[in-house]
């Protein structure tokens, strides 16, 4: 029990540290130290950003987090899942195509259907699309190259659970690292995404213009991240978990995690 108390204090300190370094434009509800929430990072064979996600949740978000091996089928007790980046199943067949058959995915679908939060990054976004939790698909970058650099994304919808601490039109510097990030969907799906405000992030230049030149992979309508109709499932190709420390070139990703913790806090009230 002593250990539990010590970790509680540590987590509260981490949270204060996190908030103290975060921008405070939006004076919305803040997560309270006593409102603990549990995160899970789903790990497939070939996931390689699982430790990055774990690091950010434990060190900066300041909440308990577990790795969840893909064979696990019980997700009770978790408030949010992160489906991390990497190369699940070596990207065999199509990126994310084989991961959707892992035992954990049935539980992930039930978890999402219950309204809890599922956050897919990069390969995680590809998996969520393949699994049908998000519409559309991600194909080979139009320029064919693997692109690994910081890009800019613009917040399109500030009312989602993942962007409540951000402002509409705000430009974030977040790194990408992918060869299959070219978002495609048919006209009807695009219209639905726009009508339902499901497009959360678009690639843009430094001034916030969504130009072709600022689109690193040919994604339709410069789409960098979308959510489902209910808003609790988000997929994005850029890596916010790699943009939570100045040392890494940007800490713009922290507001996304801060928004998510606030959303969980509100949903539990």
């Amino acid at each position: 029990m002593v250990f539990g108390f010590r970790s509680l204090v540590f987590e509260c300190k981490s949270k204060l540290y996190f908030h103290s370094l975060s921008k405070t434009k939006n004076q919305g509800p803040k997560t309270k130290c006593e409102a603990f929430m549990k995160f899970g990072v789903v790990v497939f064979p070939g996931s390689n950003c699982d430790h990055d996600a774990y690091h950010v949740v434990s060190k900066h978000v300041g909440q308990p987090v577990d790795f969840i091996w893909h064979k696990q089928t019980d997700l009770s007790g978790y408030d949010a899942l992160i489906v991390p980046g990497g190369f699940s199943y070596g990207d065999y067949l199509r990126a994310g195509a084989l991961a959707k058959f892992s035992p954990v995915m049935k539980a992930v679908k039930d978890f999402a259907a219950s309204g809890k939060f599922v956050f897919g990054v990069c390969n995680g976004f590809q998996i969520l699309c393949e699994a049908g939790l998000l519409p559309g698909a991600l194909i080979r970058n139009s320029g064919l190259h693997f692109v690994c650099r910081h890009i800019n994304i613009r917040v399109e919808n500030e009312n989602s659970p993942y962007t409540s601490e951000l402002e509409k039109g705000e430009v974030l510097s977040i790194p990408i690292a992918h060869a299959e990030g070219n978002y495609v969907c048919d006209d009807q799906t695009l219209a639905e995404l726009e009508n339902n405000n499901q497009i959360i992030f678009r690639y843009c230049d430094e001034t916030g213009e969504t130009t072709d030149e600022a689109n690193p992979n040919g994604s339709r309508s410069n789409i960098a991240g979308i959510c489902n109709k209910e808003g609790n499932v988000l997929g994005m190709m850029p890596h916010p978990e790699r943009a939570c420390e100045e040392l890494l070139g940007s800490n713009d990703g922290r507001d996304i995690f801060r928004s998510l913790t606030n959303a969980i806090s509100i949903s539990e009230k």
Partner: protein, 81 residues
């Protein structure tokens, strides 16, 4: 018995890999080539006791659920003895 499954990108989906191959083909001097599209080909061996109808039905299900992503791809199944 064998099922041959061909998976191709829908005509409306851009194929950057096919474009790159087309470019290389042109560099080889084949200027009369109008377009190249890349796809995937699978061979599925089935128990010889399975009827051709059942084999086709099974292969269609595999193609639809695993081999192709219906959002971006079409598929075609052929059964050969």
């Amino acid at each position: 018995m064998k099922a041959k499954v061909y998976v191709t990108l829908k005509p409306s989906v851009l194929d950057p890999q096919g474009k790159a191959i087309h470019h290389s083909v042109e560099l080889l001097g084949f200027e009369q080539i109008k377009d190249v599209r890349q796809g995937k080909y699978f061979e599925i061996a089935l128990d010889s006791a399975v009827s051709e109808t059942d084999a086709k039905e099974t292969a269609e299900k595999i193609a639809k659920n695993i081999l192709a992503n219906p959002v971006i791809e079409d598929y075609k199944v052929e059964i050969v003895q």
